[in-house]
């Protein structure tokens, strides 16, 4: 582990068993009863490290496992295998009590500010709760001062602390969710699609707020999004996910200028660009397969134009190229593309 590394995950796997009870699992095969499990393979063997102070983005289309990955990293889901390390300490298997100090250092901002704020709590109690919980013994007055300070910082009038979430607009609610995350002085924030529920002019305000907070408080972000223009703007490094696997990981500039993985290439050409009259995008064959029946070999091989026999049988590993980009593609590694 290098000093600059804040969070590292290694071979994280997260599967969900959705097979239900015994009767749901019952199948008849060749005249005999069998129990069959149905497993959603949401995240498969993902490894990367996030450096202190950077904005690390995870992009991908819906169902690629990016939100599951975020929740696994922060400890909302236990991983099936693999490990999560925070400053070198392994945290994925800690009992809840010993996990507590890490929970204060890692905070999360969710997508939908209508669902993530308790409608029956005032803004003040929403903001006070995490401090009261994590920093017992802090005086009531200093918590109040902190609420006022953080509210002002995120651009919500501290005089509104006695109001309820429904009295605020979507953008203001998202500011309050950000404030809640900042209340416990975290080092690391996972933002799961924090702006995709907001209007265009409000998106810019929230992105600015997140960038300001990062600069002022030295935060590290893991940013989950499907919006590539946002990714190219705020992040230092990007991981592209497809069907639970990271297929490319690179510096933002490199990824957007010279994408290597065929899926990244298709994804980038699909972004609608302002003022480009005729969209000319790389078309993909078919659709994303379900994460219940993962294709053998490379998960992308059925939709890729560079597929050969090796792609159909052997899972490509995320491998470092000379320019520092990591890519999981046989064709790139063999020099075919």
């Amino acid at each position: 582990m290098s000093d600059s590394e804040l969070l590292a995950i290694n071979g994280v796997v997260k599967h969900f068993d959705i097979s239900g009870g015994v009767l749901d699992q019952l199948r008849i095969e060749n005249g005999r009863f069998k129990l069959k499990k149905v497993v959603v393979k949401a995240v498969n063997d993902v490894s990367f490290a996030i450096k202190r102070g950077e904005t690390f983005s995870v992009v991908g289309e819906s169902g690629c496992g990016k939100s599951t990955l975020a929740r696994t990293v922060i400890g909302l889901y236990p991983p099936n295998s693999g490990e999560v390390r925070y400053k070198g300490e392994r945290i994925d298997h800690l009992p809840p009590k010993r996990m507590l100090p890490y929970r204060a250092r890692m905070q999360m901002i969710f997508q939908d500010p209508y669902a993530s704020l308790n409608p029956r709590m005032t803004v003040r109690s929403i903001l006070e709760e995490p401090v009261m919980f994590h920093q017992r013994g802090v005086s009531r007055q200093s918590v109040r001062n902190k609420v006022a300070e953080v509210m002002a910082q995120v651009g919500v009038d501290p005089g509104w602390a006695t109001r309820y979430p429904h009295e605020f607009s979507g953008g203001q609610r998202q500011r309050i969710s950000i404030a809640r995350a900042l209340m416990v002085d975290p080092e690391f924030i996972i933002a799961d699609e924090p702006i995709s529920a907001l209007d265009v002019s409000i998106q810019a305000q929230i992105l600015n707020l997140l960038m300001d907070a990062q600069e002022k408080l030295g935060l590290t972000y893991m940013f989950i999004t499907h919006d590539l223009s946002v990714v190219s703007h705020i992040s230092s490094r990007v991981a592209v996910m497809y069907l639970g696997c990271v297929c490319e990981l690179a510096d933002t500039q490199k990824l957007f200028h010279s994408p290597r993985h065929p899926y990244t290439q298709a994804l980038l050409t699909a972004i609608p660009r302002l003022g480009v009259a005729k969209p000319r995008h790389v078309k993909l064959r078919g659709e994303v397969p379900t994460p219940i029946n993962l294709p053998p070999g490379c998960v992308f091989h059925q939709r890729c134009i560079h597929t050969n026999d090796r792609c159909k049988n052997e899972i490509p590993r995320l491998t470092r190229l000379d320019d520092g980009t990591h890519v999981a593609c046989h064709a790139v590694l063999e020099g075919r593309i």
Partner: protein
């Protein structure tokens, strides 16, 4: 090119307990045959209500309180319910945001397609099925004969939206109103659906009103743009001109707020504040509290349109009037 649609000074109100709220206030635009218009704005700007008004889908307590909607020369606001019903779904089709909400989950795709056709055409079920298959081919759905027997849940989001488009095409309409057709879809699917829609509009010479908040999508598909803010059109004109040289401060703000316009890593140019709700629309220009170009007159007087570039574009802004 003939005139397909003319919306003239449209006004829509919502009758509420404490009085009438004006949702749409004097919206005018025109669409020629085969022309594509983008209605752009943030949520609450009134773009969807405008789209619904054209096909008379405004439900109570909303009502059209003024203006005209001329479709091929006939005023839809003065027509009987039955008269509008014959045009809606036949000459004008609508595509909504969420295909799962549009399609009936308990009927097969075939049933829904044939039902639509039989409601508007005097034909046999067998013929209706043939037309349905032909339209499904047009939206690039493979093995349409089998697909007709399937239910909406058996399709992915992108495929469902293709089916909705196929249903919209059934009667060979002159105008399609698409309300955020790709907002619920992933970027790669969005690109495919937009390609498809654009190709179909061109090959069938259909008019399109694309309602969306996404300026980038609009700039790729439409020929002209109307930007809406708080129930009014604030600027309209040819797409290429609006995108490259926006005049109204709100349009400028929207374009400048896009991450791709700013240098990576720098602060974005945000528009301060937020759009007023219908109950609190400020006096004068409704944008003035958020505007960098504000003049004294903006706080008291509602700006009139000024016409520019051979009357091809217009903007309602005191700043440009005084310039």
């Amino acid at each position: 090119m003939g005139r397909l649609l003319e919306v003239d000074n449209l006004e829509i109100k919502f009758a509420l307990r404490f009085g009438d709220l004006t949702a749409i206030n004097g919206v005018s635009f025109t669409l020629d045959k085969g022309e594509r218009l983008g209605l752009v704005g943030e949520s609450g700007a009134g773009k969807s209500v405008t789209g619904f008004a054209i096909i008379n889908l405004i439900s109570k307590p909303g009502y059209i309180s003024g203006g005209r909607i001329l479709f091929q020369g006939r005023d839809l606001t003065k027509m009987s319910y039955e008269g509008v019903r014959q045009i809606r779904g036949d000459r004008i089709s609508m595509i909504f945001q969420d295909p799962m909400m549009t399609l009936n989950p308990v009927l097969t795709v075939g049933t829904q397609m044939i039902e639509t056709l039989l409601a508007h055409r005097n034909m046999t079920v067998r013929d209706a099925e043939a037309v349905s298959i032909e339209k499904l081919k047009k939206v690039q759905i493979s093995s349409p004969e089998q697909r007709l027997k399937q239910y909406p849940h058996e399709f992915s989001g992108g495929m469902r939206q293709r089916i909705v488009i196929a249903i919209a095409l059934l009667t060979g309409p002159e105008l399609i109103i698409a309300d955020e057709p790709t907002t619920a879809l992933d970027v790669t699917i969005q690109a495919e659906i937009m390609d498809l829609l654009l190709g179909l509009c061109e090959s069938e010479n259909m008019g399109l009103i694309l309602i969306t908040h996404d300026l980038a999508v609009v700039s790729q598909v439409t020929e002209k743009i109307a930007v809406m803010y708080a129930g009014k059109i604030v600027e309209s004109g040819p797409t290429e001109r609006i995108i490259n040289d926006p005049l109204h401060p709100y349009t400028r703000g929207l374009i400048n707020a896009l991450p791709e316009v700013a240098e990576p890593g720098t602060r974005l140019n945000q528009i301060p504040g937020m759009m007023p709700t219908l109950t609190s629309i400020p006096k004068g220009c409704s944008f003035h509290p958020r505007c960098d170009y504000r003049l004294d007159v903006c706080e008291t007087e509602d700006p009139e349109f000024i016409y520019l570039e051979n009357n091809k574009r217009r903007v309602s802004c005191h700043y440009w009037k005084n310039k």
